[in-house]
Symmetry: C2
Subunit: 484 residues, 2 copies
């Protein structure tokens, strides 16, 4: 009885759905990058002096400064003794007092209600109304969350049901942000791929959506459709016509719509404009406006604020069955509440200073500076990659990433296969080892068979981005030569 | 095609596991309490002037002040411009600088690695070593989380596998904190109840554990055992002998141990002492020390800090299979990272100021004041309930709750059944309507058939707690009379 026993929890006995989960953004490339950073600190000689983490949309890690007003409000909420300090502008103080009034015990340290602080949900609703040209938003349909990821998982969780061929199928774009594939694997739902059209700047083609849907009906019951707009990793911004077509299809085919709109403030390309699914849906009138079910997600992690670490987000649900909405609230209540500092931060996002407020000028200047720099970086990325032989890059219309396609010589593909690696993983790993540049292979997001991509953020500071893009292009040329 | 369609997502088509989830701490009583508060604000006449939320362990909502040092460190991290302010003591500044150094871009706004900031995990490990008299703790076995709840759900998720009679069974105490029953329902695992011994101050009886285990083998494969110590909602503090017996049983019966130790700082009764499962396990030597699998959970939400809103917590895993541990990290990485402000707060919890630091005296005074007041409230609760006819209350040795048993007259039970309510829910709902006192019925935590309890926190401020306990006792007498 006291001999060496096998563990209770092993790879074989554990949850096999969890085992099947993959998450490339923080996969082997990221782990190796961490090791390399440690080696550099220990003085190990490398062909580079720093690892540049262009693998994840983490703006502040890349040196972007927080928006002053937001941090002032939050510091005042955290330590209300500061309310008597002259260091802070009056509007930041009023804002902090307003938030604290709405907190249990007037403290960020109390739990909020599970859907988030009422005041903040009301202000989110007003923000959505302004964004959507006055279309009403009801705070009772808004649920704050631990980043947008948390809300996306919650809505997907509600949707998953059935066994065998009646299992819930969820349509996701390919390439996609791997939260979707990971969550569907964990929930044992069926992932149904529809391919974005790389030849047309990653546009969503409704014909392809219909193909994917109809083919999927043989093996599952498709019940939800995920759209990421602006696109991650693909950077496209959908046209209004496209969104209308998607809504019509969702309605006809009885699909619950999930609109991942966390990059709604990140639109750079001339002629591109963000249209929310909620607004388009409402303006399409009957039968869509009053019937099509939709969940729209937003976050404090992206945009111009980039406050990823605070994990503040929300979902607005539209036309959701009232009883299901109660179930969603119940499910959220088991985790008690989203982090209250993230809620407070979200408040500053949805209620920025107005023109008569003392913080207005600085706030606007900081916001515009961040967005203008992102736009310039998007442009520069496209320019450099478009001049690189063997690399083809669509315009980065929005979001924070380029997703260039690269030619890999057959011998490189063969070598990768010998090593048991996806060819683009092989490329990215070599790139990291030789240049310190950390990007994510396209296989982590999905891509058409036989094509190879990588995702790279546009976030490194301007003075680093240009040499980085050039280094990457040169490495690709060298790599191609090596395997030709 | 354009007629009124049934919704895609309804109670019938949704995830039925989610539908079965129950979470009493924020159930109908809480919702009614919110309504009553709103009615009071609108000037509706009630037999009380305020609702007292004694339903949830939310210390700061009940007026407990945050620990000054913690909030100072956090404010400095949020707004590093304050580092040059004379408002803050030097040790708080040094601490904030240390945390920011360990953050991406030196900002709380960057994502951390998914297991949490390395520096903070190292300091958690040192904290555990101090707590456990020098027994080593490895930062690689520590995972920070969004409150302890998040970590508990993650570990349970890993454990759930199998179908039919091979489904994972998880032993949980009855009464339990309903996170466990809710999570098991959501994951479609089998809940296996073992009853705590109310006649012996809610002690855990290993014979009863064995009974539950053996009976469960007919319907599932029991693979994990959850223990809550100090107990929630029951307030018992386990003896070292009891913990040893539990560990022996877990080892013999091949059960993964989950030790919910979030109330480890909340021990009040004379002669009671907190023993961590990790320490006892290690001191038991072979074969337990090197083989028994354990996950121990802790949080910044309870103790003397009560920072629930920040959602800071951690799990330490012991003897976990290395490959499974990698899977756990992967699973966490899909959600990117726990909220960084909560991580920073946890740092202040695990590394309090030392005797030579300027903040030491104030920190100690504040901490002791909170713990002394909680101890006094625990005592008072027990005293008043023990004098109340028809109510029987075990000593509140630890944690933050009393879980008194009450006699309900048969006619009250009958009336409740006519209304389709659990008898204790009927009592608690009437109590709320007539006195404004919000407590949770025992049925939400589980109790032996035919017994009735409620959970009440000991958190209301002293000047409110005594009248509240007396009012509750009087209401019980009145209620009993009414239905006799």
């Amino acid at each position: 009885m006291n001999g060496l026993k096998e563990k209770v929890l092993t790879l074989d006995t554990m949850n096999q759905c969890v085992r099947r989960v993959e998450y490339a953004v923080r996969g082997p490339i990221m782990l190796r990058a961490l090791e390399l950073e440690q080696e550099l600190r220990q003085g190990v000689k490398k062909p580079f002096t720093e690892v540049i983490r262009a693998n994840i949309g983490d703006a502040q890690a890349m040196g972007q400064k927080p928006i002053t007003f937001m941090r002032q409000v939050l510091a005042l909420c955290v330590d209300p003794e500061l309310l008597s300090s002259s260091h802070f502008p009056e509007d930041a103080k009023r804002r902090a007092e307003r938030i604290l009034q709405a907190c249990g015990g007037h403290s960020l340290g109390a739990y909020s209600v599970s859907s988030g602080i009422q005041l903040i949900r009301e202000d989110v609703a007003r923000y959505i109304e302004r964004r959507d040209g006055g279309i009403p938003s009801n705070p009772n349909n808004i649920f704050l969350s631990t980043g947008a990821s948390d809300a996306i998982v919650t809505v997907l969780k509600l949707l998953v049901a059935g066994e065998g061929r009646a299992r819930t199928g969820v349509l996701i774009p390919i390439p996609q942000y791997p939260l979707y594939s990971a969550t569907l694997a964990e929930l044992n739902a069926v992932q149904v791929n529809y391919y974005l059209d790389e030849e047309h700047a990653w546009a969503l083609d409704v014909g392809e959506l219909r193909r994917a849907l109809h083919q999927a009906r043989d093996r599952c019951r498709p019940r939800a459709l995920c759209v990421i707009n602006p696109g991650n990793p693909t950077g496209q911004v959908q046209t209004r016509e496209c969104i209308e077509a998607v809504i019509r299809l969702a309605f006809e085919e009885r699909l619950f719509l999930l609109a991942d709109e966390v990059y709604q403030d990140n639109v750079y390309a001339e002629g591109s404009q963000f249209h929310s699914f909620k607004k388009v849906l409402t303006e399409m009138g009957p039968p869509y406006a009053a019937q099509q079910e939709l969940a729209s997600f937003h976050s404090a992690s992206k945009g111009y604020m980039g406050e990823c670490g605070f994990r503040g987000g929300y979902v607005e649900v539209v036309n959701m069955d009232a009883a299901v909405q109660q179930q969603m609230l119940k499910l959220m209540s088991v985790r008690l509440c989203p982090p209250v500092p993230g809620q407070a931060l979200l408040h500053a996002v949805v209620s920025p200073p107005g023109p008569s407020d003392p913080s207005f000028a600085q706030f606007q200047a900081e916001k515009q500076a961040v967005l203008a720099e992102l736009a310039a970086k998007a442009k520069l990325t496209e320019q450099i990659f478009s001049k690189t032989p063997g690399i083809r890059c669509n315009p980065v219309q929005g979001a924070m990433y380029s997703f260039p396609r690269m030619h890999l010589p057959p011998r490189a593909v063969q070598r990768a296969q010998e090593l048991g690696l996806a060819p683009d993983m092989f490329f990215c790993m070599r790139l990291l080892e030789e240049t310190g540049i950390c990007v994510v292979p396209g296989s982590g997001f999905g891509q058409r068979e036989g094509t190879y991509h990588f995702r790279m953020t546009i976030l490194p500071p301007m003075e680093k981005l240009r040499p980085l893009l050039e280094k990457l292009s040169q490495f690709h040329a060298k790599f191609t030569l090596e395997y030709s």
